[in-house]
Symmetry: C2
Subunit: 335 residues, 2 copies
């Protein structure tokens, strides 16, 4: 049964991906309404061979809409999700606006699909870095209980939007040309041929010295996994990669689980592609994960510094599974 769908933030990097995935997966759409800021209104966007005109987002935009996919930042979500709910829509929100609200499910369909039913009009899509990590950790947690997670990320610039991709490319070209007059507008420091241990780049550090991205990984992991006892600590770092987040993840489990068991588990885990063949130099890479649906995991090793420890290397397309795909998977389960 086809439904009316709205995409809020249709011209952004996640918005574009929403449309690509809705097409690919033959999502049952009756009417598609593309919404964005005034600045983007009027733009023409192709979808299933037709041309759609982007409309300006207003509180009246959601009349007749059944599912609203939001990806226009937390302040837009805070303002407009209530109007969408009032109009009878169910919202899947990619922003951080409602993620930690007790009455809002925070869902990764492979991990906690049972949460979807308790929604009251909005289901939150987790942070990109968290999604790819929990998809891999859940099957291990189920058999060995994860006590602690130490994660360091290698995050692509697309997580900061289309402007960030443009800035990385232009700055890189400028440096290769031997120029030193490139004007940055987004990142506080050079991102080309550099790494920045601050995500998001625009927000102040929290009083405990962490970034909001790091604390999202801590709190969202506990909420999605449904286990507040899991200890999590994170260091999130932007790297000059266009698309695909990588994560070096160290876990400590309560029960023994060896590398071969972890490989077996992950080889049949939903949404996970095991790519762990050191002999043939096969391991996950962002350029390989870009454009694919799976979360790739490899470099699985026993951590010999503790009794029950495992190291993993987890890579996924931050715009697909990390954002648009996960939201659409939630919407599919809603229907």
């Amino acid at each position: 049964m086809a439904v009316n769908v709205a995409v809020v933030g249709a011209t952004g990097v996640v918005g574009e991906e929403f449309l690509r995935i809705l097409e690919e997966r033959d999502f049952p759409i009756k009417e598609l309404r593309l919404l964005a800021s005034k600045r983007s209104a009027g733009r023409k966007v192709p979808f299933r061979g037709e041309e759609y005109t982007v409309q300006e987002l207003t509180k009246h935009s959601f009349h007749g809409i059944k599912i609203a996919l939001f990806s226009a930042g937390a302040s837009i979500s805070k303002e407009y999700v209530p109007y969408a709910i009032e109009s009878g829509a169910v919202c899947v929100d990619n922003s951080s606006a409602f993620r930690m609200d007790d009455d809002v499910p925070l869902v990764v369909p492979e991990v906690n699909p049972q949460e979807i039913v308790r929604h009251r009009g909005v289901i939150a899509n987790p942070n990109c870095s968290t999604i790819q990590m929990v998809v891999v950790l859940k099957p291990i947690h189920d058999i060995a209980r994860i006590k602690r997670v130490i994660v360091s990320t290698y995050q692509a610039v697309s997580g900061a939007g289309l402007k960030a991709i443009d800035e990385l490319q232009k700055e890189t070209a400028s440096i290769l040309a031997g120029k030193s007059d490139f004007q940055r507008t987004l990142f506080p420091y050079q991102i080309a041929f550099n790494v920045l241990p601050q995500i998001p780049q625009s927000k102040a550090f929290l009083p405990n010295g962490y970034t909001s991205e790091e604390m999202k990984m801590v709190s969202e992991t506990k909420k999605i996994m449904g286990d507040p006892r899991i200890g999590v600590t994170a260091t999130t770092v932007r790297v000059p990669v266009i698309r695909g987040h990588s994560e070096s993840v160290n876990i400590e489990t309560e029960k023994k689980v060896d590398v071969q068991e972890v490989r077996n588990l992950l080889s049949r885990a939903p949404g996970v592609a095991l790519m762990d063949d050191p002999v043939n130099q096969l391991y996950p890479l962002p350029v390989y994960a870009a454009g694919r649906d799976d979360v790739f995991v490899g470099r699985i090793r026993e951590d010999e510094s503790i009794e029950y420890g495992i190291n993993l290397w987890i890579v996924s397309d931050n715009i697909r599974k990390g954002a648009a795909l996960n939201a659409i998977q939630i919407a599919e389960r809603l229907l």
Copy 2:
């Protein structure tokens, strides 16, 4: 008192840095002998306003040499260090050839200078990633005893030599130009706009799934810190950065040490520059560390997932403190 100095591997990326630092630090040189493979012999290299001709390395190259700085790979060191010792030279070897030999001191002057005296003709210079980490960890270990270290690295391509820098730059230009026919000769996969969880890129993984770089960080850290009880686990990753290795380091200590104490300690630690001012968006960056002597540390945070845990972000020039500078500091102490 000036001495005769040989540089083995004079035309490599570390060799070039040796010459720059010997000049900068006014190292007391009577005669300078530049040695390299047959292929590089005959090349002219400027030093202190004069021109030196690179000579082919042979077993007879070390006559009259007092200090030999080796940086031409482990197999060259294994073959030629014995000849240098026979000729009466003391070798400071940047390769991994002798690092774990019981009778060879493995030295970072800020950490274990007392080891130098027990040399029998060769002192090993540690791996770049290890050096910058132990310079920061030693002062913390001294007051709180580090029980465990979990490190994930973000390593510059210069660690793989001049050809790697060239490959990154050319591949980047090729991708920006929209071409897809770039011929790699060094890295097994694209390094431009990508990250590679395999260092070195040319060597097989060990039976335990780790790379040799990762295991060097484990074994060398214990040896330099003089404490085999420290648990270390590492994930080493190449990033598209020209120069400057970054490390996300999580430590667990036996005794409580808070963030402010760690900052105080590190602000007066030799060879360390504390760069930890989140309010003003100041933290270490590879592009800033490149060309500088110090090891930079920032993003110091309490790890709330365990009782006594600290996260740190450590960045240093992998060619300077990670290789050439550390070796020359050892040579200075020898004199």
